[in-house]
Symmetry: C2
Subunit: 347 residues, 2 copies
Amino acid sequence: MPDGKNRQILLAARPVGEPKPSDFRMVETAIPTAGPGQVLARTIFLSLDPYMRGRMNAGKSYVRHLEIGEVMTGGAVSQVQASNDPRFKPGDIVEGRTGWQDYAAVDAGEVRRIAPDLAPISTAVGILGMPGMTAYTGLLNIGQPKAGETVVVGAASGAVGAAVGQIARIKGARAVGIAGGPDKCAHVKRDLGFDECLDHRAPGFAEALSKACPKGIDVYFENVGGPVFEAVLPLLNPFSRVPVCGIIAHYNATELPAGPNKVPVLMRAVLSNRITIRGFIVFDYADQQDEFLRTMSGWIREGRVKYREDVVDGLENAVEAFRGLLRGRNFGKLVVRVSPDPTAAAR
Amino acid sequence: MPDGKNRQILLAARPVGEPKPSDFRMVETAIPTAGPGQVLARTIFLSLDPYMRGRMNAGKSYVRHLEIGEVMTGGAVSQVQASNDPRFKPGDIVEGRTGWQDYAAVDAGEVRRIAPDLAPISTAVGILGMPGMTAYTGLLNIGQPKAGETVVVGAASGAVGAAVGQIARIKGARAVGIAGGPDKCAHVKRDLGFDECLDHRAPGFAEALSKACPKGIDVYFENVGGPVFEAVLPLLNPFSRVPVCGIIAHYNATELPAGPNKVPVLMRAVLSNRITIRGFIVFDYADQQDEFLRTMSGWIREGRVKYREDVVDGLENAVEAFRGLLRGRNFGKLVVRVSPDPTAAAR
C-alpha cells in the first residue's frame, strides 16, 4: 500500500489521434472509505483494452464517454479490504469496473466474486472475463460457425482473437488468424492451435489470406477493420456472417483509415453474398454469463483453450502499456499488476 | 400474334453506365415449338425490374449474368398456347422467367399457374409476384418490425417499397416512405396510407427525414442506396435492422455514387448501435411462397394492401420503359403489355 494514498490516473485531455502521455494525469488522493452497501477494493490486476480509447472521445457511443478529470475507466481484479455488504468479507477476490487506481469504494452489486481455485485470478479480466465473453457470445450467437466452415479473426494473439479461433476449432471450423509479425503468428499456430495465421504486415498479405482460405470465409469476426477487412471482403462466402465487436484500426484515427472505404463496394458484397453484418457488445449477452463461465472454464481445464497474458508491473506504467496496446505492441492479454497477487503462492 | 413471328429483345452490348438503346437489339425469329415436357407460352405482361440492370454486367453476382446475344431476362405472365405436360392446357395463365419476347417454349416445371379470379393477372409479377414477395420476406424475416417501431423504405411508390410500407403498417409500425417528387409522395401517403413520405430531391431532405422519424429508425429496408442511405444512417436506433435487397442507385454507376461512402463511418454506426445489415434475395425464402400468396392476397381482398401499376403497351417500347425505370420515371409497378390480357373482359 503506497503510503496510504490512492493513486489515480485521470483523463487530462481528449486525445487527438494516438493518446499522448499528457492526455493522462496521475494524482494521489486519500484512500476512500466504503459507504453503506459498498466494499473497499484494492486493485490487483487492471485490465487494459482497446475499447478504452473510444471512451476518451466526446460524442455519442454505445456507452457514455469519460469526462475530463475523471478516473480512467477499466475492469480490474481486486481484493476486498472492507465491506458494508453481507455478501463480501475482507480478503475476497472480486472483479468489477473499478478503474485505473489503487483503491475504489464501489457498490457491492457492481462487483462479482472470483473463485481463486478455478483459474489464476487475472483471467477474470481476460479469457474468463470481458474479452473471453466477447469472443464467446459474438462468435456463437452471430457467427454461428459450423463444422468445416472457415472462421477468420484479426488480432489473433490478442485476448478476443485468441479465444475466437480456439472456440471456432472446438466447433469443428477451420480457424485462420491474422496477427502483426512472425512471433505472434508462430504463437497463434503453435500454442493456440489455429490452422493458419498470417502476418498482415507481410507483403502479399491479401493473396496469402486467399490461399489460406481455399473455400472462402464463412465467419469474419471483425475486431480490427482497415486493410484486414479489405482483404477479407472479397473472400466472404454466400450467407457468411460478420460479428462486429470493435474496430481497433479506427480508435486512434483522426482521418479515416485505409480499408474498403467505399460503402457501395461493401453493400454490393452484402447483397451478392447475402452477408450478415451485425454489431454487438458483450453486455448485450449478459444473461449468458453463467453459461460462458461454465463452458469456458471447462475448456481451459481440459486444455482445449489456452491463453497468454502480457503482465506489466506498476500502475505508473499503465499509460505507456496502453499506448503500446493501441500500436499492437502487447503479446497476449494486457494487464497491469497494480499490487501483488495474494493468491499466486497458493498455486 | 404479330405475323407468326417471335420478337425478341437481346442484350447487344454491355452498358457502360446508363443503358443506351444500342445496348439492346430486337430480332424476329420463328415462334418456337414446345418440346417434350414443355409448354409454349405467349407473353401477356412482361415485368421490368431494376435487378435486370445487374444481369447486363459481366462479373460475379448472386445469379449468372446475361451473355451478349442472349434474350433479356425477365419474369412474365403468359398464356399457354400448347402444352406437352399434363399439368397445363392451352388457355392457362402462367408466370415464369420467360424473358423479353413474344413467345417462349419452357419446361413446364419452370412456370406456375396463376388463378385469374384471385386478382388481375398482372399482379403475378407485381404485388403477388417477385416484388411483393421480396418486400414480404425481407421485411418480416430480417426487418422484423414491431408495433410502434419506425420503418423507412426508399422508392416507396415502386413495387417493392409500396409493399414494404403497407406491410409495416399492418404490423403496427410507423411507415415512412421516400420517393422522387411530390406526386409520388402524395400517392404514397394518400393511396398507400404511409404515415409520411419525403421527397429525396427536395432541399433539406435529411432534416425532413429526421423530423419524420422523431423516435429514430428501427428498420431501414435498403433498396436504393446513395444519399438516402446517408440520411438514414445517423437515425438508426440501437438494435435496428437493415435488410438489403438491392441498391438501385448503384446499378448504373460507373463511378461510386454519393452516399455514406466511407466504410469506417458505417461500421462505427453498426457497432455503436448494434445494427444488423443483411443481404437477401427473394429466392432465399422460396419455401415461404405459399404463405406469402395466401397472406398477401388476403390483404389485397380486405383492402389493406393497395398497389399501382404503370402499364406500357408494346414490346417495342420495353427498352425505353426500362431506361425510364432506372431513372425513376415509372409510377408504380412497371409492366409491359406485350399482348392483350384475355382475362381483362371477365372482370
